[in-house]
Symmetry: C2
Subunit: 114 residues, 2 copies
Amino acid sequence: MPDSLRRFKAEIFQALAHPTRIAILELLGAGEASAGDLVEKLGIEQANISQHLAVLRSKQLVVNRKAGNQVFYSVRDPILNDVLALMRRYFQNHLQEAYEMLGEMAQAPAESEK
Amino acid sequence: MPDSLRRFKAEIFQALAHPTRIAILELLGAGEASAGDLVEKLGIEQANISQHLAVLRSKQLVVNRKAGNQVFYSVRDPILNDVLALMRRYFQNHLQEAYEMLGEMAQAPAESEK
DNA sequence: ACAGTGTATTCGAAAATTCGAATATTCTAA
DNA sequence: TTAGAATATTCGAATTTTCGAATACACTGT
């Protein structure tokens, strides 16, 4: 496989390599959401969400649709959802280590739980 | 989903987010290989391969087995191969854009082709 | 035209990643 | 024990990523 193709793949993974962007994609997996929805559901700075959306857009992982004031985002290719689903299985298989790797966890309950 | 779990996922993706590490994992998908094999097949500095292997080890994506002088690596969980396979399908779907995104490509033939 | 709401961009500064060079470590064979 | 091969680690500089703050832009209603 050409190295240039691997560079492309690496860029996609790079786009996935941030907790906030994973959260965004998981939310979008359930269907379209506006930028504002994401800000509200994730409890993260508007500017920051917008920056992460810019990353996802630049790698074409999401598409957007403007409706008046708002911009609605969705996952472009359902394969991405499959990838995330596979990863969920992976994490179930290795939850143990996940916890160990993260070390804290026990007392760090994380802000935005559902 | 807890934020800490998303951080863990992001770390896995981060580990996948480098062309050399993708190349390593794709090679290992075909079966065990020694560090030296990887150096030779990828044509990359020994120290650098070793650094990338350290990243993959630290995220537990690979396991290693020492045999005398050498260290043999393999992918720990076959799900990873599935993820990479899914990604290959993704790239086929979007090859067009991949080429556009990479821009150069036409004249950048990449060093290590098969 | 103006104000207000929703979203995007720009600008630093701090943190993380990457690589080659140099050096260590570990094992084997003599 | 010494030499050599295979692999790993450390160091520092260059690059990239990340975030908040400030600002810009776009659309709507009045």
